[in-house]
């Protein structure tokens, strides 16, 4: 029997992120309202005390989300590449970058990380992203990437932030057969300033 209300089948990796149904929306709204009404500023990435002294600019909540996201996005060791957490200081690199962000960009990042951490609660049994197991976390990331334009944008921003700060480390390059800097190795002579044009 044809059912007009049936949704088309979703690919397997999409099944991780159900669109927000009315109930899901209410659930998300309640959680958000609770967070806001409790005055929990750290959830919004602002003003939180930073108990993890390794990070100067990221709050503890933010660093937890970013560490987990780094693990999920970059399972580098499985491919013979340097670990994205213990060898390459990906999250510390992000911390450095965050320290130089303009105020508004910094606030938006904090908000984006909070949304990303909690958006999964609507689709994964009230579980935050950082508490999902590996398979679920990857499904969530892929589903966000294939989601609405807002979800896609948020996911792309966070993914770019994490991946740039991993691949920028020279220790990752031999695994790609990428030569990195060559001027010094090749003994390329510096030419200095160009001569003044003849009038």
């Amino acid at each position: 029997m044809h059912n007009n209300n049936a949704r088309p089948d979703e690919p397997g990796w999409m099944s991780g992120l159900a669109p927000l149904s009315r109930r899901g929306f209410l659930r998300t709204a309640v959680i958000s309202a609770a967070a806001l009404s409790s005055g929990c500023a750290t959830l919004l990435g602002r003003g939180g005390a930073n108990s993890d002294r390794r990070y100067q600019h990221l709050t503890e909540d933010e660093s937890i989300v970013l560490k987990r996201l780094t693990q999920v996005l970059l399972p580098a060791e499985q491919f013979g590449l340097p670990s994205s957490l213990s060898e390459v200081p990906t999250v510390q690199n992000i911390d450095g970058m965050v320290g130089q962000m303009a105020g508004q960009t910094r606030e938006l990042l904090g908000l984006g990380l909070w949304v990303f951490e909690h958006r999964s609660m609507a689709s994964f049994r009230f579980s935050r992203f950082s508490r999902l197991d590996d398979d679920e976390a990857l499904r969530y990331v892929n589903a966000m990437q294939a989601g609405t334009f807002f979800e896609r944008g948020l996911m792309t921003t966070l993914k770019t932030l994490v991946c740039v700060n991993y691949w920028r480390d020279a220790r990752t390059w031999p695994g790609l057969d990428y030569h990195g800097p060559v001027t010094e190795i090749w003994g390329v002579r510096r030419l200095g300033n160009a001569p003044l044009p003849q009038v």
């Binding site: 499985q78 990857l138 892929n142 990437q145 090749w186 200095g192 300033n193």
Partner: protein
């Protein structure tokens, strides 16, 4: 006869650290000069050189830091942190289109890919006849292009400057019957390192850092880095100088307030920063066009994967261009594959094991950037008050522009398939790829315009222009044909903001030619602009 000596290396620059060390300068100081130039990129450096050479007292103010070329490490990530504006994250208001710009002494010339293009003569002629801008006619501005070309060592890439990525583009073009040619670049004895976007440590790229700035200082110009111009000062319809804040480039802390009293002010901050400075300064805007008409030359990068190892990141970054569609459709295509980090801003490269597998293919990849001429509908504005406000860049593709970019991406993909690619990655916020040309149309169909084209195609811009367009009608344009802002005597512009309409050419060369023209206009009008009015 005066002896002019250009330093062998580096540029004499006064930085925030110098000011902090010098108690005589204090927390507030002023400088008197004949000409103050805001910005030290392609336009600002050229104007400074021309005017200093003519004997004028010139002060150049640059908001970015001084990063001598000897300090470049060929690490793109480090360079982005140190000399790219907002660490390479200057976005439009919906945060999905990236506007890449240098913020350092030398501006974007330091991090550019060395591509030099002259606009088609047909376009220059049309600007002359239809817009009444005779100064842009090929016979008027052509000699200035030639002069810049000679100064900048502009030449067509030779055989050794065509790398494997470019060879794939050539193969594809030959099979498709598309016209291609080597790119013209401003580089002297290129060392073929492939690190153009991270700055050239051996001074072969002819950026302002090693050309017009050291030349200008040799003629006596003074250059200040870390100096953020807050507003242009005006009195009785005449520019009288600028106010600026000197900031520590590492902490952003204010080190000093600076005032420059000048008889002529030249703003050359580029098509994004110049209009916001004029707006902050409340420069009269009778036309309402300051910050409007921004053309962005949007581009997308198509990546192709081949069976063989290409190492397409080796050699000169940009090798060839496809010029088949330049005049007919306004497309520009450039071969290029940069550092691994750069791949993150070109498309959706998967997550987890998918992402690592993609990156492991790096040595098998080739890249082709597809630029499309747009409609010039973008806008840059300063929102809020001068001290605490913020810059807003508004540009999202129209449906027509979006479809044009899609077609450009599709053409680039076909070129790569014709050259034997086994997979092509579509520049999208979704993870999309085609494994044969027969899958391409169906894959491209998945890229939909959606809401204002947001978060669909992965679009970047290197070359915005037109935000303070020149023209003869003061109700339709911001500056006159001499580059002087209508209704503000002594306030000149000399950057890509002046370009009157969207154009299908990388603007670097045009900006330098225009800057020379503006400088000579200033000199020609010396009696009306300077107290010491001799030409």
């Amino acid at each position: 006869m005066r002896m002019i000596t250009v330093p062998r290396d580096g540029v004499p620059v006064t930085t925030a650290a110098d000011i902090a060390r010098d108690p005589s300068m204090g927390r507030r100081f002023s400088v008197k000069t004949e000409v103050v130039v805001v910005g030290s990129g392609a336009g600002g450096a050229t104007v400074a050189y021309e005017l200093a050479k003519a004997g004028r007292k010139v002060v150049v103010l640059e908001s970015g830091r001084y990063f001598p070329s000897a300090n470049f490490t060929e690490h793109l990530g480090d360079t982005m942190t140190e000399v790219y504006r907002e660490q390479g994250s200057q976005f439009n208001s919906t945060a999905d289109v990236l506007f890449v710009e240098g913020e350092c002494v030398g501006g974007s010339t330091v991090i550019g890919a060395c591509v030099m293009q002259r606009p088609p003569d047909s376009l220059l002629q049309r600007w002359a006849t239809e817009l009444g801008l005779g100064n842009l006619a090929p016979d008027a501005i052509g000699p200035l292009f030639d002069e810049v070309g000679a100064e900048q060592y502009v030449h067509l890439n030779e055989a050794h400057e065509i790398n494997t990525t470019a060879h794939k583009v050539i193969q594809g073009c030959e099979k498709m019957g598309f016209s291609w040619k080597p790119v013209a670049r401003n580089v002297r004895q290129c060392a073929l390192t492939g690190h153009c976007l991270a700055g050239c440590p051996s001074d072969r790229k002819m950026s302002s850092l090693v050309t017009h700035l050291p030349w200008a200082t040799a003629y006596g110009a003074r250059l200040f880095a870390d100096t953020h111009v807050q507003r242009v000062l005006m009195r009785a319809g005449r520019a009288t100088g600028v106010e600026a804040i000197v900031r520590d480039p590492l902490t952003g802390a204010q080190m000093a307030e600076m005032r420059v009293d000048a008889e002529v002010v030249v703003v050359a901050g580029g098509a994004i920063q110049t209009p916001v400075l004029l707006q902050r300064s409340q420069v009269p805007d009778i036309s309402g066009q300051i910050g409007r008409n921004m053309a962005v030359q949007p581009f997308v990068q198509v990546l192709a994967q081949y069976d063989e190892e290409l190492f397409g990141f080796r050699g000169a970054l940009v090798g060839v261009e496809i010029d088949e569609f330049l005049e007919s459709d306004g497309y520009m295509f450039f071969s290029a594959l940069a550092e691994p980090e750069q791949l993150m801003i070109q498309g959706e490269q998967g997550a987890g094991p998918d992402h690592i597998r993609f990156m492991k293919q790096y040595k098998h990849l080739a890249g082709l950037n597809a630029f499309a001429i747009d409609e010039g509908r973008g806008q840059v504005s300063w929102e809020g008050d001068a001290a605490t406000g913020r810059k807003v860049i508004s540009w999202n593709p129209s449906r027509t522009e979006f479809e044009k970019l899609k077609r450009g991406a599709s053409l680039a993909a076909r070129v790569f398939f014709a050259a034997g690619a086994k997979r092509v990655y579509i520049p999208s916020f979704q993870q999309l790829q085609a494994d044969s040309v027969f899958e391409l149309d169906a894959t491209m169909d998945q890229v939909s315009y959606g809401l204002k084209g947001m978060y669909s195609l992965r679009i970047n811009s290197f070359s915005p222009h037109g935000t303070c367009r020149m023209g003869n009608d003061r109700f339709q344009s911001v500056a006159n044909a001499r580059g002087e802002v209508h209704d503000v005597k002594g306030l000149f512009l000399a950057d890509a903001s002046l370009i009157p309409e969207p154009m299908p050419s990388a603007p670097h060369w045009t900006v330098q030619a225009l800057a020379k023209q503006v400088a000579r206009n200033i000199l020609d009008s010396a009696s009306g602009l300077f107290l010491n009015g001799k030409a």
